[in-house]
């Protein structure tokens, strides 16, 4: 029983990172109907910036965090400008081209970092040791709970922001119909840039959270990105609440599989969950069906 409880809690805390990156996938999908497959690599960039500023340069961690988030935001915008913006004049229904260009950006980021900073894995100390000491709750370290709290907190914060403000309404309007949104005075290009910038910030924060949990390396983001994409689809892509539920679900499924004998199959369990959800509920757990009446 204790083992089950511990697995679930560990799964939820791991899920915090999936929530953040699933949110990033969702918000970009909302405004552009595309999947940014470089999202996991943007997290990796954030981790490296945090490592470089906090460990190598020895700056205080809040400064390093802000720089990691800002750097990841810029990376997200660069991915948009290089991989998507040049294709923007073509038929938006041929999204397959867009997706392949983001995949190319993902490979270029991984290989670029491997060539420039090498294949070494870097250890990043947690900034919370000084606050919490070595206390654990249910044998789980506080830095793990921080991941969960930040992930859930940002998801709820964004849900409220996008539910109650003109910014959120304009985002949804842009997602539904760019031409009509622009007729109402909404700068839809600015909305797309906002979504890529915000997705970058979320990935940067994810990179900061993840650094102390796993080693920072050039290929750390690939699997995280893929599993978060699964989380976004499982929860219902385009939905903030869906990203929250999907991220936590994927975290728990993976951890339960790891704890109960599946060992090296833990990652496969994530994709089995994806297949099951897509068969049972193709829109994802919280994906909404479109109301359309003509």
């Amino acid at each position: 029983m204790a083992r089950l409880l511990q697995s679930v809690i560990t799964g939820l805390t791991n899920g915090g990172v999936y929530v953040l990156i699933a949110l990033a996938f969702s918000i970009i999908y909302m405004t552009t109907r595309t999947i940014n497959f470089a999202q996991g690599e943007i997290l990796m960039v954030g981790s490296f910036i945090y490592f470089g500023t906090a460990v190598t340069l020895g700056l205080p961690w809040p400064v390093a965090l802000i720089m990691a988030a800002a750097g990841a935001m810029v990376t997200g915008l660069v991915v948009y400008l290089l991989a998507l913006a040049p294709l923007g004049k073509f038929d938006p229904n041929t999204n397959i081209g867009w997706i392949l260009t983001t995949l190319a950006m993902s490979l270029m980021l991984v290989e670029g970092f491997r060539i420039v900073v090498g294949e070494d894995q870097h250890r990043v100390p947690t900034p919370f040791r000084s606050v919490f000491g070595r206390t654990t709750i249910l044998d789980i370290e506080p830095k793990q709970y921080v991941v969960l709290i930040v992930g859930v907190g940002l998801a709820l914060g964004l849900e409220i922001l996008h539910d109650r403000t003109q910014l959120g309404r304009a985002l949804r309007a842009t997602a539904h119909d760019k031409a009509t949104a622009s007729l109402l005075g909404i700068n839809t290009t600015a909305m797309v840039l906002y979504s890529f910038g915000l997705a970058g910030v979320l990935a940067g924060i994810g990179g900061w959270l993840l650094g102390p949990l796993i080693f920072v390396s050039s290929n750390m983001g690939t699997l995280i990105g893929l599993k978060s994409f699964v989380a976004a689809v499982v929860g219902g892509i385009g939905s903030t609440r869906g990203a929250l539920v999907g991220g936590l679900t994927i975290g728990v499924v993976e951890q339960l599989a790891r704890a109960y004998g599946a060992g090296e199959w833990a990652e496969a369990a994530v994709f089995v969950a994806l297949i099951l959800i897509l068969v049972l509920r193709p829109t994802g757990i919280l994906g909404e069906a479109l109301i359309e009446k003509v």
Partner: protein
């Protein structure tokens, strides 16, 4: 069509704000010439989609307080004209000629910038946001506004269209077609526009609802609003228009007051089914 034999049309005297005199009389009184400033001026407008030329050098203008109609059949270029005025960018589209709105040359401006000049466009097919509530749709209409009277304007639109008030919190997609058209009009009014463009407001609606929609346009006219209306239903459009243009295959072939065109034998034959 009995409706066409009915000669009674509303008459407007010199308008004063807030007063909406509507009398049914047998003969249309001579209309005072439009005296307002030019709101929209289009000169030698040519629009291409790739190699296909849709508009072949058209000229028209809309003055303050006027209802101007552009009538024509399917594919004549009516929607293209409106979309070009309001700056909707489309695949392969290129624009030549001059579009001047409130003194600004806007033919290279993006749609959102033109909208913020005070141009509200009620698009073909209504294009409300079906997953957002009626209230959110109205708030989106006020997107560019920074003032504090948005809530007051929402209440005003809900008085104008009581059904929107009743369904304020429901998703727009659950409204009927006519109600959605009302929502689209109310959304346009939320921006406090200087000119309203209507693209085929009658499209896909039952005859009784079409009459309601034209009554709304007429009422907006009586409030002194400036309107550019594009319609296939020539009779209804000419009946409420101060002036009108006939668009055929990308060329304006005829223009005049609404009444002149209603009585023009060619129009009667081609568009009014007489």
């Amino acid at each position: 069509m009995p409706e066409q034999r009915r000669r009674a049309v509303p008459v407007r005297g010199p308008r004063s704000p807030g007063v909406a005199p509507r009398r049914e009389v047998a003969e249309r009184a001579p209309r005072p010439p439009p005296a307002g400033d030019t709101i929209i001026k289009v000169e030698d407008l040519r629009v291409f989609y790739g190699a296909v030329q849709v508009l072949k050098g058209i000229n028209f203008e809309v003055r303050e307080g006027e209802v101007v109609a552009i009538i024509g059949s399917n594919g004549a270029g009516k929607t293209t004209t409106l979309k070009t005025v309001s700056g909707v960018s489309e695949l392969l589209k290129s624009v030549r000629g001059k579009v001047t709105i409130l003194g600004n040359r806007v033919e290279s401006w993006p749609a959102h910038r033109i909208a913020r000049l005070g141009v509200a466009h009620v698009p073909e097919g209504r294009k409300i946001f079906p997953n957002q509530s009626v209230r959110d749709n109205l708030l989106l209409g006020a997107f560019g506004r920074k003032d504090s009277e948005v809530d007051k304007d929402i209440d005003e639109q809900c008085r104008r269209f009581p059904i929107l008030g009743e369904r304020r919190m429901q998703p727009g997609g659950l409204l009927s077609g006519g109600e959605q058209q009302m929502l689209a009009v109310a959304r346009a009014l939320m921006s406090r526009p200087k000119v309203i463009l209507f693209d085929e407001p009658s499209m896909g609606l039952a005859p009784l609802i079409v009459k309601q929609i034209f009554d709304i346009v007429r009422q907006l006219h009586e409030e002194g609003r400036t309107i550019l209306l594009v319609e296939q239903m020539a009779f209804q459009a000419l009946e409420i228009a101060d002036r009108a243009y006939v668009l055929e295959n990308g060329t304006i072939t005829l223009e005049g007051t609404g009444r002149e065109l209603l009585e023009n034998p060619r129009i009667k034959e081609a568009y009014l089914g007489a």
